[in-house]
Amino acid sequence: MENFLYGVAENTGKGFFTAEDRRNFFLRGYPADVWVVGNNPKGALWVADKGVFKTKSEAQALVDAEVQAAQTAWDAQSDEEKARPGNNRPTDITLP
């Protein structure tokens, strides 16, 4: 059995993931509203309740698209803007 489930869900704020959720299953958030969730019944219920399931490759493709769009926007900046403190080029992200 795979260790993780993958899904897309919009973080709606307070109550989106609760203390009980955090104690029941692994949870990590990524760009493009992608969530990596521990593969157990309560984790699966959370994904089903909050959003839609994705395969790992589908989820990775969504993250890649968002990161690449941010990288493209960063690359289009002037050299002066790129040198602005704290303005680092977004880095690639690999889902677990």
Partner: protein, 342 residues
């Protein structure tokens, strides 16, 4: 095999309802529910909070039930892009807009409460192209409006590390120019500004907690070639810095300003510590199993706040992409747990 009675000197009570005032560590069998239960320490957790209205790398002050997000760099699709003075207040559930500050800037740091906060430094400027310059700006928020106070002696940016209250704070190290040059200079505020003893390293992204006279500073990075991250930590008594327990791994950019010199938490440092929480007990740092969920590039010292080691607020983040989401930390507390459910 030992029994509960052998270990604890008494048997497990069989009761028809949970005790109304259980002792820490007490175990009982609830015959009505058919469950073995106990009153034990649960685990600390990070949970979701409200969402900022304006997407920016705001600095956070206050508590999980009365927070303040101010200044920061506004990223599209929010507008106008650039340094900001936008302010929002948090009530434990949602962020609402408040009056703007006076100087538009980002990589600001703030401290205090929702009704008595100060915000210091940062890169001042507007628009996506700037220009931006390191500022001495120091503003006070009284719960309604921002007022300019006398600027600090030295301009600092990079979430210039600071901790304390709006009327008594210490600011150490930080970036002093647009090239990212770190400083070891210390400045204190208690109604007026004065110089303190130099910090033991010229560093940026140092994290801090505590007060002007009882503070803890940890990690950070220098501009030294190669690996420039620091594994050192220092306590400050208002006069001198004293080395204390080191970090197990050199790290930078942790959120701090939560708790005291003897009980504080730090969370979300630069990679690979994005999802790490550390406890400090006055002597040593230890990994707390609670993990923030969001992949913030790094929280940064200015973007986390709380009044105790058991309750903290994180919002936005340093770097790109900046998030509008909030996470709230709740420390471990005693609770009734079910061990066996028949």
């Amino acid at each position: 095999m030992s029994t509960y009675e052998n270990l604890h000197g008494r048997r497990v009570n069989v009761v028809s309802s949970n005790p109304s005032n259980p002792e820490a560590g007490e175990v009982w069998y609830n015959s009505t529910l058919g469950q073995l239960k106990g009153y034990v320490l649960g685990s600390a957790v990070w949970t979701s909070g409200g969402t900022l209205n304006t997407k920016r790398s705001a600095t956070i002050a206050g508590t999980v039930s009365a927070g303040l997000a101010s200044f920061g760099y506004i990223y599209p699709p929010s507008s106008p892009e650039g340094g900001s003075y936008v302010t929002e207040e948090y009530n434990g559930t949602a962020w609402t807009s408040a009056n703007n500050g006076n100087t538009q800037r980002y990589q600001v740091n703030s401290t205090g409460t929702q009704t008595a906060a100060v915000a210091f430094g940062g890169y001042a400027g507007t628009g996506d192209a700037g220009p931006y310059s390191v500022t001495t700006a120091f503003e006070n928020y009284n719960g309604t409006t921002w007022t300019n106070l006398t600027g600090a002696p030295t301009a600092k940016a990079g979430d210039a590390p600071l901790t304390g209250t709006s009327t008594a704070l210490v600011q150490v190290a930080g970036i002093v120019d647009t090239s990212g040059t770190p400083s070891n200079q210390v400045q204190e505020y208690n109604g007026s500004w004065s110089a303190g003893e130099n910090y033991p390293a010229s560093a940026q992204a140092v994290s801090a907690a505590g007060t002007l006279t009882a503070a803890i500073f940890m990690g950070g990075a220098t501009n030294a070639p190669g690996s420039s991250r620091l594994d050192t930590a220092f306590e400050y008594d208002g006069t001198d810095f004293t080395a204390t327990g080191s970090l197990t791994t050199a790290s930078t950019g942790f959120g701090g300003r939560t708790g005291t010199q003897t009980a504080s938490i730090f969370a979300g440092g630069a990679s690979p510590f994005n999802n790490t929480t550390l406890d400090y007990n006055g002597s040593v740092f230890a990994v707390n199993p609670a993990t923030p969920v969001s992949g913030r590039p790094q929280i940064g010292q200015g973007k986390m706040s709380g009044t105790a080691a058991t309750a903290a607020l994180v919002c936005g983040a340093g770097g790109t992409p900046t998030l509008t989401t909030t996470e709230e930390f709740a420390g471990a507390e005693l609770a009734i747990k079910t061990f066996i459910d028949n």
